[in-house]
């Protein structure tokens, strides 16, 4: 579903600024859904739109099959978008050829979830971080200084530059991945579940690092995660996805305090909370998450929704304004 007029999306802070990244009607379909007799596309990302301002963090949350990781990778064109616009600093890069797009890669980088598989085990740490520099720098420029500076910035010892990834711990490897992402001085870093694979005590270190870097360098983040508490801590605005669509988007405080969409409410209720004497009854969401290959007709959430009525099967709801810059897609809110 599309979100009209740009200014309203960026309404927090109140003075609208030009957006760093604007995604409009992004779609990614894969073949192979439905059945043999009636083949359908798997709608991994089904028409989403949002924008991210300079120095801002947009959190993207959802469960398996919601398409958040696919969306993140499609924005970076690691996956080819089926249709839609990806407007980076005012220029639509979705339709560019690989060669034309390559210079824009300097502005958008990515940090991956798996600290073990996201680093080439056969390359030394120095080379891993230097690679982006060598891709875009002068051919003869093998100076160690910029790499050493990056190591320091993310809290790694310069002496570790000659080590292989297997000699680092999980948290250190993630720092290495962050150093690599910073090398080209990007404006936007897509963080695809950057702390999910880390222990809680290390998560805090990496989250603090990401926040420090944002402050120092004016970075924007697209923070994709399933941990709602972490997203709440690091984001200014949050979008909730379900089966390829954004069902709710809004400022973080407002969305968490007053969720409007039944899925958001259920998600927040399901998160186990560490509170004193917490053993309250919860309304649990019944059933399983439908497969993206065979989504329900109309509103895709209706099979699990406590508020579902017959009208929900007919057409899928559009995002409606609920409050300042707060949108939800439900027929009944």
């Amino acid at each position: 579903m599309s979100v009209p007029a740009i200014d309203v999306i960026n309404a927090a802070p109140p003075v609208p600024k030009p957006a760093l990244l604007e995604v409009r009607n992004l779609v990614k379909y894969y073949p192979g859904g439905g059945s043999w007799l009636r083949p359908r596309a798997i709608k991994a990302v089904d028409d989403i739109s949002f924008s991210i301002g300079y120095g801002e963090t947009l959190g993207l949350v959802g469960e398996s099959g919601c398409g958040k990781s696919t969306a993140a990778k499609t924005i970076l064109r690691l996956i080819a978008p089926t249709s839609g616009e990806i407007v980076l600093k005012g220029i639509d890069v979705a339709g560019l050829s690989s060669a034309q797009f390559r210079p824009y890669r300097r502005d958008m980088q990515i940090v991956f979830q798996d600290p073990y598989a996201s680093l080439n085990p056969r390359m030394r740490a120095r080379d891993i971080v230097a690679e982006p520099l060598r891709n875009f720098g002068q051919p003869g420029d093998w100076d160690d200084a910029p790499v050493a500076a990056l190591f320091e910035r993310v809290g790694l010892d310069k002496a570790a530059m000659s080590k292989f990834p297997s000699e680092f711990s999980g948290g250190q490897r993630q720092r290495l991945g962050i150093a690599r992402a910073l090398a080209l001085k990007p404006k936007l870093i897509v963080c695809d579940e950057p702390v999910s694979a880390l222990d809680v005590s290390i998560q805090a270190q990496v989250i603090n690092l990401l926040e420090d870097l944002q402050r120092e360098l004016g970075l924007s983040y697209l923070f994709v995660a399933h941990d709602l508490a972490v997203v709440r801590h690091i984001s200014q605005r949050v979008a909730v996805m379900y089966l390829g669509r954004i069902v709710e988007i809004g400022p973080v405080g407002e969305l968490y305090a007053n969720p409007r969409h039944p899925y958001t409410k259920a998600l927040l209720a399901a998160v186990p909370k560490v509170g004193v004497g917490v053993r309250r009854e919860k309304t649990l969401l019944m059933g399983d998450i439908p497969s993206p290959a065979n989504p329900p007709s109309g509103c895709t959430f209706r099979t699990r929704c406590p508020m579902a009525r017959t009208a929900c099967a007919d057409n899928s709801p559009e995002l409606k304004l609920q409050g300042p810059a707060h949108w939800a897609a439900c027929h009944f809110v």
Binding site: E63, S64, S169, G171, D199, V200, S201, I202, Q203, A204, Q205, I207, N208, E211, R215, H226, L228, A229, V230, R232, H233, I234, V252, G253, Y256, A266, L267, L268, A269, A270, V271, P272, K273, V274, G275, V276, G277, V278, R279, K282, L284, L285, M286, D288, I289
Partner: protein, 337 residues
């Protein structure tokens, strides 16, 4: 207090490899009673999973694994029981469910066959009777249309349903104890809530004791009666759940709770930094003289580095809430600040 069904008593687990000896578990003791859910919580490498594997003797034998201490089930020491006796116990009197339902269930057998296998083996049911019971069990764990689904293969189930199937297999013989090793870590949060609710309901209905091993403090807070916190192979705190979260006694527990963002902390602009625990978990290859947490602890003094702290209550009023810390328990007045 009633007698515990399962008791781990001063367990030491060591693993030997070419690179040296790893002291995975050092002097850990806890108990669980009928109908109780005990949470064993800690980060990776703390030894919680290997303790669970040791209960059912699923670890490789000597010389790789070396175990001392006792694990008593109804008073019987499982560490020294015969393999034949262990086979009687596994799946029958003590069951286990694992983290990844895709790899913990045999993908080439139907779900019904796997449930029936346990029933035929331990309860000596005939094939037909076992299948009937399998359908009943699937209904018990809320799998819709169990008559049809009992003939399905694991890949035809979703992740949450596979986990339910694994619970069905585990509870088929009505075990006295269920050991759940990170059962919801791989599941989405809405499915996790369903599974935890199922486990809670089942233990209240059947009286099975559950040992829940996890790294997620939230899950423990909502479901467990008592909690044991482990760090680097040792038990550092033990308490009833509300007590632990109201007044965490060990600096590590406090550190974990402050390092996690919570849904109800106030949102300031800019955000308050998460309180980090500096440093990393120590290597378990080297023997530690004092408290394992001392290098990372802001309260540490010389005594902490020299002597392993004894397990003491944190307040005289609540002897069941205990921690291993020289600075925060009732022995702290002996330790000069």
């Amino acid at each position: 207090m009633s007698t515990p069904i399962l008791e781990v008593d001063n367990l030491h687990l060591t693993f030997a490899s070419r690179d040296g000896i790893t002291r995975a578990v050092e002097g850990v003791s806890w108990q669980v009673h009928a109908g109780e859910m005990l949470g064993v919580v800690g980060e990776s490498g703390c030894g919680k999973s290997v303790t669970a594997m040791a209960i059912l003797r699923l670890l490789p034998g000597a010389p790789t694994t070396h175990a001392t201490g006792a694990i008593r089930f109804h008073g019987e020491d499982l560490l020294h029981a015969s393999e034949a006796r262990m086979q009687e116990i596994r799946g029958n009197e003590i069951s286990m469910i694992f983290q990844d339902p895709m790899t913990s269930i045999n993908p080439v057998l139907t779900i019904g066959e796997q449930i029936a296998e346990v029933l035929m083996l331990h309860q000596h049911l005939g094939r037909k009777a076992a299948w009937v019971r399998a359908v009943e069990l699937l209904a018990l764990v809320n799998i819709p249309d169990p008559q049809r689904r009992v003939k399905d293969y694991p890949h035809q189930f979703s992740g949450g349903m596979r986990q339910r199937a694994m619970i069905a297999i585990a509870l088929a013989c009505k075990p006295a104890v269920l050991v759940a090793d990170e059962p919801t870590t791989a599941l989405d949060v809405t499915i996790q809530a369903q599974i935890m609710e199922l486990l809670d309901r089942l233990r209240r209905e059947t009286g099975t004791a559950i040992v829940l091993i996890t790294h997620d403090l939230g899950v423990v807070a909502e479901s467990c009666d008592r909690v044991v916190v482990m760090y680097a192979g040792r038990k550092v705190e033990e308490a009833a759940t509300p007590d632990l979260f109201a007044q965490p006694g060990h600096p590590y527990t406090r550190g974990l709770l402050s390092a996690m963002p919570h849904l109800d902390t106030p949102l300031t602009q800019p955000r308050t930094r998460l309180a980090e625990i500096p440093g990393m978990v120590p290597s378990l290859r080297t023997a530690a003289v004092g408290c394992r947490f001392a290098p990372r602890c802001s309260l540490a003094v010389d005594m902490c580095r020299e002597k392993i702290p004894s397990f003491e209550p944190i307040a005289i009023s609540n002897p069941l809430h205990r921690a291993a810390c020289w600075r925060t328990t009732i022995v702290s007045e002996e330790v000069a600040a």
